[in-house]
Subunit: 182 residues, 2 copies
């Protein structure tokens, strides 16, 4: 477990880096731009990162680390009886604000990184969520839960804002209106 102050400093640097990449492209970003934007000195920067590539690697690894921690903290959720409310709560209260705070990093990941990364990251998100579901959750349900989580994540990245609780609840509520079994 890292010192909270260290974690906060690294978050500030990584967010500044992501913002700058979106503004002028990865190649044009210099370390001095990052330290200026993040308001940290060069010493602080080089205590945590070797260079720009190392910063990129840490930024992505830290994102997945924090995402895994966020999921880890949740009670197990599944769509089924008595627990879909937990899913909705998780989407609105946990996932949306987290993604919102990381939106620059996700946008960089989608714009700048390779197909391999994009495949690995989808798999990573899938596996993390999968571990939280009951072992006997039907496979198609696993896919649909992950589809809904990634839909919410993409919404936040594209719109730079989180959806309202009411809109998400209404969508999930409407989903099964007039569907009938058999």
């Amino acid at each position: 477990m890292q010192d909270l102050r260290v974690i906060k400093t690294k978050m500030t640097i990584e967010n500044a880096f992501a913002e700058l990449i979106l503004e002028k492209g990865l190649d044009a970003v210099k370390i001095v731009d990052v330290t200026n934007r993040a308001k940290v000195d060069r010493h602080t920067f080089y205590r945590h990162y070797k260079n720009k590539n190392d910063l990129m690697d840490h930024m992505i690894a830290d994102f997945f680390g924090e995402f895994a921690e966020l999921i880890e903290k949740q009670p197990p959720f599944s769509i089924g009886y008595q627990s879909s409310d937990k899913l909705t709560q998780f989407l609105i209260n946990d996932l949306a604000p987290f993604i919102s705070s990381k939106q620059h990093i996700l946008r960089v990941a989608q714009q700048e990184l390779s197909a391999t990364f994009s495949k690995v990251s989808r798999q990573n998100i899938r596996d993390t969520i999968h571990q939280k579901l009951d072992a006997d959750t039907p496979e198609i349900e696993v896919y649909i839960i992950i589809g809904i989580c990634t839909a919410l994540m993409q919404y936040v990245v594209d719109h730079k804002t989180t959806p309202t609780k009411e809109a998400v609840l209404k969508t999930l509520n409407d989903l099964n209106a007039f569907t009938t079994l058999g």
Copy 2:
């Protein structure tokens, strides 16, 4: 509109090509392998495609063309009142069988193609489905519908089989159990 026999021949060639790529990798596949597998002669092949790259381009373009036609044929669907049943019917009766018949091509697309393609294709699928939704559909609902469609597509690609109607219906039904508005 192309002759149906021509469409069928091209589908056979493109499916054979996709199967061969999955078996031995794109570089190792020769045109003669494709014509043997598809049981067509070289003349027929070269009437439709210039070379292997051209075949790859057509295979992907034809996939998106047929996907767009499939969506085009649907009545408008949204999650809302009276129409979510149409969504379920579409998922089970139309989308799952279509993706199942194209699973080799989708698997090739996911394994062999670039980040740019994977971005373009997600955008393409998103835009096609988006056009089918009411103009006043809330944005988050659009994302969640597309998330569910792509979840089903990914399920079919990964499992090489379509889910049962009962399993999909159960998942959609369970989604809003115990969710409450407000």
